[in-house]
Symmetry: C2
Subunit: 467 residues, 2 copies
């Protein structure tokens, strides 16, 4: 008869102790395949425990497949492998807090200052959402997002972007990157996707990680041309006509019309209009979207709230032309929406109650001031640099007066704690880039450090490393 | 000279009116390509407006590419197409509130009752998060998720699931579906993916929409077998060994070991263990995971908080075996995490402060009670039905006593307001399914309607439609 010493004082239930003991015997082969276990009653009497304890242990062993019960006959041991000797733990080390280099001055990272985010309003609306929407919050929203939020976005676009769209055309996603993946599924993985060169490098990487063919199309002074597209075999082109990153080019109307014509020439051609920072135009009216000028339903519009509200809010959206809606529903309508409904309903309130407009205006004013301050500091600190400004967006370009090659400049600056973004970083072949053009991503720059930082940079450019 | 009547009382700024008027003339061809515009000063005098107003209008037209400025010479009209006559608006109709059929009794939809969600606790932790984390909330979390939350999940899994994992192995995503897409990118789109047949149909649909080859592998009474896998050309298999949906099969230990051997036989083979409802086991210990038994680093574990907390919270995670971590970082580490950091930090507190354990225990008790009540009602209302129970999960099976074919049964029930899920719905070929087995997804059922609903069902099964 099976004999185990079970210990009532151990803090582990008797049934668990018995279960572990029998399982151990099965795994080690002490109890052989096919062997019959003692009856519950007999084992209980033998070990001086209750029948229920044995029953629970047997049930658990049966549930996990170590033994099987045969009606009216009893429990039998199932065939089980003897596992190899456990190796010493192969657990990877616990990660530490991510190592981040602390830069004295960082021209690369655009960041939102914490004090700009309307925490109080957001928290209040979230509380309101929990009170108003408790039942809705426990149901998934439609695949494309909560109707309430899509309507609020449509109203916003009508009032502030001059775009006439229906809520049914809007599809929400947790970040623009996740929308790219949906678009590839919608438009076809066999299509060829064109991106701008220079451009934001992550866009091409995302397309490539999704296993589609990517073409990098060289820009001219008006941006991407239909002519260059025609020379490629691209079917779909991803562009930022309102404000190209990093060159800052605003695509002129003539060029836009050419692109729309290119898209209309062949079935299956589409333009993905990434309107990522159109909200931050400091002078004049917003640049009209390509989407609004599109008569042939060839433009898909993409934008995000992560840049305008906070990066922690993963909410982006795309707008499909009407003829793609049925295909979307059929191919992708079964996907669950990736955005938390808490945040969807909160953002809907934030938009409809006017907080978003208010927030954007405040941000625009502050960015404009910061931009002016950074420009003034550069004029003072780098008098021979040429500032190339476009009154828009969260970056601008500065042509530096130096003979150093870009990589040399970058590595020497890094030694001095200065992280430089250079235009050549955004070219697939850096040799095609105009040299020593600094991309100033200014929103995260601490102005009080700019004087000292630019002094160091100046010394480096003059070929004197001793700062 | 250009002559426009501008109206100061119109509520639109003079510069916008002038901009629109000149743009209209360019688009209509009244102002021809290459034509020189009057000087700012001359036009201002002519229209009796300020030079600044003209300057703003010219700047906007130049920014959008309707005109270009030539230094010292003035502004010239650019080539622009005349757009076709605008068609009547092609805007798709505004969607109404989604039409949902109201069922008298719904056996298909598992839903979480609103009163189970710990709103107060969640709201309090969210407020706390906003206070504690204001700066962190404005920085994106690492691609794999906030370290704090990954550590909390690792601790939870160690304490309650017997799994030893490091936070560095955990990757968060906005829903399990988005993790499948990441996995395909990681393991390869050229691989062949096997799913269980019968199974949760959406899983195969998601793989197919991601353009990978999918094999549906027929189950036997112990679930998916290594033998059946070997007969297919599958490289990766997606299974739920702890509690299969919809059959409820718990994969026995012997079968698990066979699957692990299958995975170890060839480079590139992986098992995706979808542990979607393992938290709801009502009797005995939790079934150990396949991941924990895996000595060869061939198992990737997936689970979600959407099922245990609320579907509105889009938070799932996967655990990679250590040897895949470097490949993940290299291929996919540049992706932004899709989960809102608000909710990541809130969930971390929810886990570490013990609220999750408390919540799960309450849910388990309530589901257990509800399950017992539903089973009792079925025993009373359908005395000849055979209830097939497994003490786990949010569904169980009932073999109905009827001669009606499944589709007939389903459509007659629908006429009576009863929505039936039948086992055959989950088979790729319904003819392979045992007939008239009801899948009772009980968590959304209103028990007070069950008596009347089962009376109607009984009448239908007896072939008498007049209820």
């Amino acid at each position: 008869m099976l004999t185990y010493s079970l210990d009532k004082t151990k803090g582990i239930s008797l049934y668990e102790q018995l279960y572990s003991a029998i399982r151990g015997d099965i795994v080690r082969g002490t109890l052989a395949t096919g062997e019959k276990l003692p009856s519950k009653r007999a084992l209980a009497a033998h070990l001086e425990i209750s029948v229920v304890t044995v029953e629970n242990a047997y049930e658990q062993l049966a549930a996990e497949g170590y033994i099987r019960s045969e009606e009216k006959r009893g429990y039998y041991v199932c065939p089980v492998d003897t596992p190899p000797e456990p190796e010493s733990s192969k657990l990877p080390p616990e990660p530490g807090e991510p190592e981040e280099r602390r830069w004295f001055l960082d021209f690369v990272t655009n960041s939102t200052a914490a004090e700009y985010f309307p925490f109080d309003t957001w928290a209040r609306l979230m509380r309101r959402t929990i009170l108003d929407k408790s039942t809705d919050l426990l149901r998934p929203t439609p695949s494309t997002g909560a109707l309430e939020l899509r309507r609020a976005i449509a109203d916003w676009l009508r009032a502030f972007r001059g775009m006439g769209v229906s809520a049914s055309q809007i599809i929400l996603g947790a970040g623009t990157e996740s929308l790219y993946s949906l678009l590839i599924k919608l438009l076809g993985r066999d299509k060829c996707y064109a991106v701008e060169d220079p451009g934001y490098g992550k866009i091409a990487k995302i397309y490539e990680s999704d296993d589609v063919t990517v073409r990098r199309i060289a820009l001219d002074e008006a941006g991407l041309s239909a002519e260059a597209l025609r020379r490629s075999d691209a079917d779909v082109v991803h562009i930022s006509p309102s404000h190209h990153y990093p060159t800052g080019i605003v695509m002129p109307i003539g060029r836009r019309q050419e692109l729309l014509r290119w898209a209309g020439e062949k079935e299956g051609r589409y333009i993905l209009e990434d309107d990522y920072d159109s909200e931050f135009r400091f002078v004049g009216r917003p640049i009209p979207t390509l989407f609004a000028a599109d008569e042939r339903e060839r433009v898909i519009y993409l934008n995000t709230f992560s840049k305008t509200i906070a990066p922690s809010i993963r909410m982006s959206y795309m707008i499909l032309p009407p003829h793609l809606l049925a295909a979307y529903q059929q191919k992708l309508g079964f996907y669950a929406c990736t955005v938390s409904s808490f945040e969807q309903y909160t953002l809907a309130k934030f938009l409809t109650q006017g907080h978003y407009e208010h927030h954007l205006n405040r941000m625009k004013t502050r960015y404009h001031q910061k931009r002016d301050a950074v420009i003034a500091a550069i004029r003072a600190g780098l008098p021979r640099a040429e500032i190339m400004e476009q009154d828009a967006g969260l970056h601008f370009l500065v042509r530096l007066d130096t003979h150093l090659a870009d990589d040399e400049l970058q590595s020497r600056a890094a030694e001095q704690g200065i992280r430089l973004a250079l235009l050549s970083d955004y070219y697939s072949d850096p040799r095609n880039a105009p040299p020593h053009v600094l991309v100033v991503n200014y929103s995260g720059i601490q102005p009080e450090r700019l004087g000292e930082g630019l002094r160091r940079l100046n010394t480096i450019m003059e070929g004197n490393d001793h700062v």
